[in-house]
């Protein structure tokens, strides 16, 4: 049972920390891109390409964390017996 509670906590922390980090990363990236474009609009194309790759990589990290959190919540090996034990009581 403690193991299940631990998994739920871990899933919550996993997606929370990942979203926090990715949010800061994307915010900084977008901030830099917007500053660069407003100072030098001709460089918008170059900035756009670099930003696209950066955003895709940052987003992938958040998706990984989401999948790990989902695995901890729904596909965990201990989840079946724990739910059965809860239903029994």
């Amino acid at each position: 049972m403690e193991f299940l509670v631990g998994s739920v906590w871990a899933a919550g922390f996993a997606i929370g920390i990942a979203a926090f980090g990715c949010g800061i990363g994307q915010g900084l990236g977008l901030n830099g891109a917007m500053s660069g474009i407003s100072r030098n609009p001709e460089a918008a194309g170059k900035i756009q390409v670099n930003m696209l790759i950066g955003l895709a990589l940052i987003e992938s990290l958040c998706i990984y964390a989401l999948v790990v959190a989902m695995i901890l919540l729904f596909v965990h090996p201990a989840i079946g017996p724990a739910v059965a034990a809860l239903a029994g009581h």
């Binding site: 474009i37 918008a44 696209l52 998706i63 989902m70 596909v75």
Partner: protein, 133 residues
Amino acid sequence: MEELEKIVNFITRTNWLLFLGSSLVALLLASPKVYLGVFLGGLIVTINFHVLKNTVTQNINQERVMEKGKSLIGALLVKYYLRFALTAVIIFLLIANRSVHPAGLLAGLSVVVASTFIAAAIELTKIIFREAV
């Protein structure tokens, strides 16, 4: 500029190739659930990358940036988070219903990261060999 566009085009092409290759390998060597995970994971991130590319290229360009009275961040971020929320819902449904194997799904979701790393490795090799010559 052309060089940068080439890299993005290379990543886009490699995404599809890796997606097809990994799906084929999973189809031949793995169980149906793993194959479905690799296939759907790869499809999700590849389509995601295309939509992200369209959102960024349509909104972050010289004309749009210089346009007055338009909220650039609003248009970009609303589309961005709608797409992200849709992806999260699809992944949630796939895992919660146990339709796919999680390891296969993780492998499929790594397609864009893998193709970006391949592009980076190729560019790095070019730089090293250019310096060596």
